[in-house]
């Protein structure tokens, strides 16, 4: 089921909310069970065949977690249990996500006639990662015992289930166990509705609106210099508004249930360097990769050279997490390289003179943005040769169309750039603070002012009017 569908907006969400608050009257546990069941219904609407896989995954990880937390295993036994748990998760992920990729590569090397064609369960990367984090923390002794219903809800919670944000058990399960969240809070529902409206607008009006321009670069034709740039930039903004729109919708929906989700975006294209970019783009994935991959690999604790090696490994695997294709690996490696250069620059480059700081910041932002755009070409292209072909067209100004259509399209892309660079982001507009669990507070009474309210209503209406017959979120496939 898509957030940007009539079925979800007019039927599922109101029913889930009403049931949640009604069950909340019966008790905390009843509301949690209702929400977990509603999440399974949400998932089964388009992935019914993978519901048993999801349920099995939850049961398996809960059992492993219980063994690590509650049983009296020691030393090697605990490590063996953790190994079984993580290996089991990775094995399932490997079979469903990477077996086909492996077969293609083995076939290319050995001409063995191997072909594996397995349907990818939506959201498997997200719910696998959240549970691996849970097991690792349980092994480290950072987890208190959880009852099954809140744990099951933590994994299946429908606002995040399909495309994140990647949740952390320490953040979510205590919220699920709070009785206060089971009573309707009009302030949170109103703010959630407004955040949902902004996200829906980003998706249906902005991301879907620019989508046709993407084929200028990534379609089957040969683009000119300007068409290749328009197409690549269009994808850059489509991806941002699509994914950040989804994250906003997830945060808004969750807020209606009284649950604060972590932020996933913080105006990433305003970043002044790649380190900054990764603190702003898909923030929950960055945190996961840092805490459960980069730091366990050694992080920056074993010298500069190993730090760079660890960065490259982390980002290459981060790329592979997005999809089983070499284009994603190259995208990850490219970002790893950018990060290494960035860290080396910080270490070796002379400080910027104060009189030059403004221009230097602007230059840094532009260079960072261009580096990100180049990497997105690999992320989006069908294969590596196509990516190089598009990049070669982007580097060849001798073939330029620049007709009336390109001028209109260029102006269109410029409007998106202005929004991404100069407009305040959702959390700034709404005063959303995940850490302090507050929203709309810093703005005083002005969310209630009629103009703001009517603007929000218009944004919601335009978001609904922008719904197309079929428009999936890009991150569903990861």
């Amino acid at each position: 089921m898509l957030f940007n569908s009539y079925l979800f907006i007019f039927l599922f969400l109101p029913a889930a909310l009403a049931g949640y608050f009604l069950c909340g009257r019966l008790g905390n546990r009843a509301a949690v069970i209702w929400l977990a069941l509603a999440s399974l219904v949400f998932y089964s609407a388009s992935n019914w065949q993978f519901v048993p896989l999801l349920v099995t995954s939850v049961a398996f990880n809960y059992l492993i977690g219980w063994l690590l937390i509650a049983s009296k295993l020691q030393g090697r036994q605990r490590f063996a249990v953790l190994t079984i748990g993580v290996a089991g998760d990775l094995l399932v992920l490997g079979i469903f996500k990477y077996a086909g990729f492996l077969a293609v590569n083995l076939d290319a090397i050995f001409s063995a006639g191997l072909k594996v064609d397995i349907l990818l369960p939506v959201g498997i990367s997200f719910y696998t990662f959240t549970q691996i984090a849970f097991l690792v923390d349980a092994y480290r002794g950072h987890v208190a015992g959880y009852a099954l219903p809140p744990y099951a809800l933590f994994v299946t919670y429908f606002p995040h289930l399909i495309a994140g944000p990647i949740l952390h058990h320490r953040d979510m399960i205590p919220q699920f166990e709070q009785p206060a969240a089971k009573r309707p809070n009009p302030h949170l529902i109103l703010c959630g509705l407004m955040i949902f409206a902004i996200g829906l607008f980003k998706k249906t009006c902005l991301a879907d609106g620019i989508q046709p321009l993407v084929s200028l670069a990534f379609g089957s034709g040969t683009p000119t210099f300007d068409q290749a740039w328009i197409g690549a930039l269009a994808y850059t903004f489509q991806l941002y508004f699509d994914f950040s729109g989804y994250s906003d919708m997830a945060i808004g929906i969750s807020l209606m249930f009284g649950i604060f989700l972590p932020l996933n975006f913080n105006s990433p294209y305003k970043a002044r360097n790649i380190i900054d970019f990764w603190r702003r783009w898909h923030m929950t994935l960055s945190q996961f990769l840092r805490d459960y991959l980069y730091i366990p690999l050694g992080g920056n604790r074993r010298g500069a050279v190993l730090r760079y090696v660890n960065l490259m490994i982390t980002m290459a695997l981060g790329g592979l997490w997005h999809g089983a294709a070499w284009t994603f690996v190259i995208w990850g490696v490219l970002h790893g390289l950018y990060l290494c250069i960035n860290h080396a620059w910080i270490r070796f480059a002379p400080p910027v003179a104060p009189w030059f700081a403004g221009a230097a910041n602007l230059l840094a932002m532009m260079v960072t943005f261009l580096a990100v755009v180049v990497a997105w070409v690999f992320f989006r292209a069908n294969n590596i040769s196509s990516a190089f072909h598009i990049l070669s067209r982007m580097a060849d100004p001798s073939h330029t169309a620049f007709g009336r259509a390109e001028m209109v399209q260029g102006a269109f892309v410029a409007c998106y750039a202005a929004l991404a660079w100069f407009a305040p982001n959702t959390q700034a507009i709404m005063g959303y603070d995940h850490k302090t669990r507050t929203v709309g507070e810093g703005l005083g009474a002005w969310p209630m002012r009629p103009l703001f309210l009517y603007a929000s209503a218009a944004v919601l209406a335009f978001g609904i009017l922008g719904i197309q017959q079929y428009s999936e979120f890009i991150y569903f496939r990861f």
């Binding site: 009539y6 009009p186 302030h187 529902i189 109103l190 509705l193 407004m194 409206a197 009006c205 089957s220 040969t222 040769s385 196509s386 190089f388 072909h389 009336r404 259509a405 209109v408 969310p447 209630m448 009629p450 309210l453 009517y454 929000s456 209503a457 218009a458 919601l460 209406a461 335009f462 609904i464 009017l465 922008g466 719904i467 197309q468 017959q469 079929y470």
Partner: protein
């Protein structure tokens, strides 16, 4: 607003009001003429045929359906009517697959049409997903069900078109309104059905269709970086399956309808590109079209014409804008051949024209034909 609860109600009510206003505007103007022929505002048409066809089928009188891909997109209905003596409705859709075409033809036949002229490319059978999962075709609009009507009335993009059509009718002849409707920004810029995807009278035909463009396209599709596209989706079994489902079944269900099916005259370079860059694909096309010809020869209400080996057209590269798309001059030739019954496939030797094509492809040398 004093309390958040009241603010929620107000927000939802205002949203509902805006959505209702857009739906009312769409219903009143009805850009697709889905509910009634245009009366209060001038009829306007879109070149987005997958959407527009749903309205055309309901609003236009016709006895003959003209279907195909971009190869059949520039035909003018008045030429079809004049040459073939019919009352036609062109429903061709750029880049359409066999399932889309079959679905739209079936919807048009449900209104009582008795003849179908169908331009058929081999690649339309390569990848033809179910209509339910087709991203591009608004199937529910054709079905006229609640979901289709809701998606039409609740469409913001359609409301924008409705508003523009309304403004044009209130302020006719205002260039500030007329200009953007002719440009790329709006979807309903055409005031005559006959102009849908037809080339304008002042079109630069020699500039758009010439040997240099055809050769450039040939070089592009045979480029080692891009030649993989030539083979994309080709699989004989899948193509046969789609052909049986989308074409044979539809024809069998309408024994009282005459189907004039034709294989269009691509430039010889299309075949040579496959011969040189993807011979396995060429073999699949040969095998599949041989099957198609034999199968259609068995159906009494089908007349198959094969223009693929008409050398005086296919070898003159000045007829082409790339390796397949031919000029309006060839459009008229195709109509005249259909009217005269030229190049009709003999039911007793259905693959004779294919053998002729094979011989041409085998002997053609690009370097010798500058």
């Amino acid at each position: 607003m004093r309390t958040p609860a009241k603010a929620i109600i107000r927000l939802l009510c205002v949203s509902a009001l805006i959505v209702a206003a857009a739906a009312t505007l769409n219903f009143a103007v009805d850009p697709l003429q889905l509910f009634r022929p245009a009366r209060f505002t001038p009829a306007m048409y879109s070149s987005d045929t997958r959407m527009q066809d749903a309205g055309l089928i309901r609003s236009q009188p016709f006895d003959t359906v003209f279907m195909g891909t971009s190869l059949a997109i520039h035909f003018r209905q008045r030429d079809i009517d004049r040459v073939l003596g019919v009352h036609s409705l062109k429903l061709s859709m750029t880049g359409s697959n066999s399932h889309e075409q079959s679905f739209v033809v079936a919807a048009a036949l449900a209104t009582g049409a008795r003849r179908v002229i169908w331009e058929v490319d081999d690649w339309i059978f390569c990848n033809a997903p179910d209509i339910g999962s087709d991203v591009y075709l608004p199937a529910d609009l054709y079905r006229g069900n609640a979901r289709g009507i809701a998606s039409y009335l609740l469409s913001g993009a359609m409301a924008r078109e409705s508003a523009l059509i309304l403004m044009r009718s209130v302020f006719p002849g205002k260039p500030i309104l007329a200009r953007p409707t002719r440009e790329a920004l709006f979807k309903f810029p055409l005031s005559r059905v006959d102009d849908i995807n037809s080339l304008p009278p002042d079109a630069d035909v020699p500039g758009s269709y010439n040997a240099a463009k055809a050769r450039a396209a040939f070089a592009d599709i045979t480029d080692p970086v891009r030649r993989a596209y030539l083979a994309e989706g080709y699989n004989t079994d899948a193509m046969v399956g789609n052909f049986e489902r989308d074409m044979v079944d539809l024809i069998a269900k309408h024994p009282d309808v005459q189907f004039d099916i034709y294989l269009p005259p691509y430039s010889i370079l299309q075949w040579v590109a496959m011969r040189d860059a993807s011979p396995a694909t060429l073999q699949i096309v040969y095998d599949f079209t041989a099957y198609l010809a034999r199968r259609l020869a068995e159906l009494p209400n089908v007349r198959l014409s094969d223009f693929r080996a008409v050398q005086e057209v296919t070898h003159d590269l000045n007829n082409y804008g790339d390796v397949i798309h031919h000029s309006p001059t060839v459009d008229l030739k195709v109509l005249s051949w259909l009217a005269a019954g030229d190049y009709v496939v003999d039911r007793s030797t259905p693959t004779a024209s294919l053998e002729k094509l094979k011989a041409q492809v085998e002997t053609y040398r690009v370097a010798e034909n500058p």
